[in-house]
């Protein structure tokens, strides 16, 4: 792992050191992450491999700024998120960093059933209060859905839905794409084509972190981070 004591933008899109995450469930304390170091360089394609319950999703949520670390140094796209002697960043700040820099893809796609493909892709623009005319259509063409723009999710196949979700994740031109089991709900053939799309996006300079338990997928990326029981094992 690249040495990076002084956190800076050059060091990467993700710079995490000694990340600890403890959940409370009633009186019980769950140590989901027990001191994890992760660094992802711009344009890197990384796979976070582990069994379910190993801490993959927790890791993605922390890196995606949807949750706060209990302890440790975290920097995302050169912005310091948490660390020693640092005040809690306000939630709207986290929202803003996420909106501008991070794209999310889920196993269940989570498209809005009432919106068409193109409207789903445009939706994040509502939150960023920007308008990018034509951008949503460009992205749908980019993911190979130019003929499906005005279809509702229910009229699309699983693979097509995930492509819409990818286009949605890209609308704000993120530097980092986080994907949680993105191919978990897809058959092998579709899985391969979605993965191929990831590969192309990566070659255009997008850093991608895919969390999966599928060891076969892990063979097709630049680097694999194995996680087991809240610790990085190689």
């Amino acid at each position: 792992m690249k040495e990076c004591r002084v956190l800076s933008a050059e060091c990467g899109v993700v710079q995490a050191e000694g990340i600890v995450k403890v959940y409370r469930r009633g009186s019980e304390e769950i140590h989901a992450l027990k001191g994890v170091d992760v660094a992802i360089a711009p344009g890197e394609f990384v796979c976070l491999l582990g069994h379910s319950g190993a801490g993959k999703t927790t890791m993605l949520n922390l890196l995606g700024l949807m949750d706060r670390v209990t302890e440790g140094e975290l920097e995302i796209v050169g912005r310091r998120i948490s660390g020693r002697g640092m005040k809690r960043l306000p939630e709207d700040k986290l929202d803003e960093i996420r909106r501008e820099n991070i794209g999310f893809i889920f196993q269940q796609f989570y498209l809005m059933s009432t919106l068409t493909a193109v409207e789903n892709v445009e939706m994040p623009l509502l939150w960023s209060e920007t308008s990018k005319p034509g951008r949503a259509k460009e992205l749908l063409e980019r993911v190979g859905l130019s003929h499906r723009m005005n279809h509702k999710p229910s009229e699309l196949s699983g693979g097509e839905q995930q492509r819409v979700a990818v286009a949605r994740a890209l609308i704000n031109e993120p530097k980092l794409l986080l994907a949680d089991e993105p191919t978990g709900n897809l058959d092998t053939k579709t899985r391969d084509s979605v993965f191929e799309l990831f590969r192309q996006l990566n070659q255009e300079g997008l850093a991608i972190l895919v969390a999966t338990h599928d060891a076969e997928l892990a063979e097709r990326v630049d680097r694999v981070i194995r996680i087991e029981d809240g610790r990085i094992v190689g």
Partner: protein
């Protein structure tokens, strides 16, 4: 895509539920609009009635002046009379332009199909007060047994100028038994005059056995700003009479209505509160159902405020649509509601019920109703919107 599109699509996703919620709001707003419009219509109707009366001051024998005013405005059996000579005393008071004495009697309906018949004995002085009178056919009394009838009387009794009209009623040891000839039919005035029978004062006094009696004297002053002075001068003349300016009558009736308004508003507020709880319940339910979706929205960049705004906007849209439908509903049902309220009010016998349209669409009542729908939406949507904004994306997405 804009916010409103997203909100509308979310609402349309659950058509039945949204429709029910919207109709709850619509009913509450319809009640509100109807009552406010009625209030407005009642006041202006009363004012029109008083204007049509053409007088500024009314003099009646002592008794409850409001009961008296009702009878004078709309007819009825009046148990107290004044002597006719008092009219001359009134005419002597300075500052009076015109005064007219009226004698009145009625034949009360005995069966449901029959109508109350109200007879007014009047003279030329009275005609001078009634500026709104136009004859559709015929004209003023030609003979002692002439009668003039209002437009609704002419219609319901199918009377024409020159027709004979007979009145017969046994009253203890006296029997009213007289024949008249229609000398004139009035054009519709949209006042109670439309339902009255008019005859010369002397004729009524004779035929109804009310010699030298009057029930009311109407007074028109020369200078409207001096109504109070003329009123006090009249009060000094004869203590056994009730002299009151009609503006005061209007104010008093307005106060009576104002008192009922408080009660009515309480009912309306309850209706609105129920509507609001319904909306709150529905929106809260959809928020719970949409936990995952809201989590996803946050993951793709929505802030707490964005989620709050979206849910609030959805509530607001439903309430605004409900408000518009409510006003529409109220306008559509206004004739029926009006007839009902009129029936109830005239049933009390105490409050005078103006003729004419009481519930009418008016811009300010519309604005108040819509403002209330919006306030209702903002209030009912705030808690569900806050709940939605507090959803933690990870928990939402993890909850399988």
């Amino acid at each position: 895509m804009i916010w409103l599109t997203l909100a509308l699509k979310n609402i349309i996703r659950r058509p039945t539920r949204s429709a029910l919620t919207v109709s709850g709001v619509a009913v509450a707003i319809a009640i509100l609009f109807s009552l406010m419009a009625f209030q407005r219509g009642y006041e202006s109707g009363l004012r029109e009635d008083l204007n049509a009366l053409g007088a500024h001051i009314m003099i009646v024998p002592k008794g409850c002046p409001y009961e008296a005013s009702t009878i004078v405005l709309h007819g009825g059996k009046w148990p107290r009379y004044m002597e006719e000579r008092y009219l001359q005393e009134v005419k002597d008071v300075p500052g009076i332009e015109q005064s007219a004495g009226i004698i009145m009697d009625a034949i009360v309906a005995r069966t449901k199909t029959e109508r109350n018949r109200i007879f007014l004995g009047v003279d030329e002085d009275f005609l001078k007060l009634r500026r709104n009178w136009r004859f559709e056919d015929g004209g003023w009394f030609e003979r002692p047994d002439s009668i003039i009838i209002g437009s609704s009387v002419a219609e319901s009794e199918e009377l024409k100028v020159g027709d004979k009209y007979h009145v017969h009623e046994k009253r203890g040891n006296f029997t009213v038994d007289a024949s008249f000839i229609v000398s004139g039919i009035l054009e519709p005035t949209n006042t109670q005059d439309d339902g009255f029978y008019f005859m010369p004062t002397k004729t009524l006094q004779k035929e109804f056995n009310l010699q030298d009696k009057l029930v009311v004297i109407l007074v028109k002053v020369k200078d409207v700003t001096k109504v109070d002075e003329v009123t006090s001068a009249l009060r000094e003349r004869e203590a056994s009479m009730n002299v009151f300016p009609l503006t005061e009558l209007l104010n008093t009736m307005g106060r009576m209505i104002g008192n009922t308004k408080v009660f009515v508003m309480a009912i309306v507020l309850v209706a609105i509160a129920i509507g609001a709880v319904g909306v709150l319940n529905t929106i809260l339910m959809t928020v719970f159902e949409r936990t995952k979706e809201i989590g996803m929205m946050k993951a793709v960049g929505a802030s707490r405020l964005d989620i709050f705004r979206l849910i609030w906007l959805e509530t607001l849209v439903m309430c605004t649509v409900g408000g518009l439908l409510g006003v529409g509903l109220s306008v559509l049902t206004s004739r029926g509601v009006e007839a009902f309220i009129k029936g109830v009010l005239s049933g009390t016998g105490l409050i005078s019920v103006p003729k004419g349209t009481l519930i009418a669409f008016s811009a300010d009542v519309f604005i108040v109703s819509m403002a209330l729908s919006i306030v209702l939406g903002l209030a009912a949507g705030a808690y569900p919107a806050w709940r939605a904004s507090s959803i933690k994306p990870i928990e939402a997405i993890r909850a399988e």
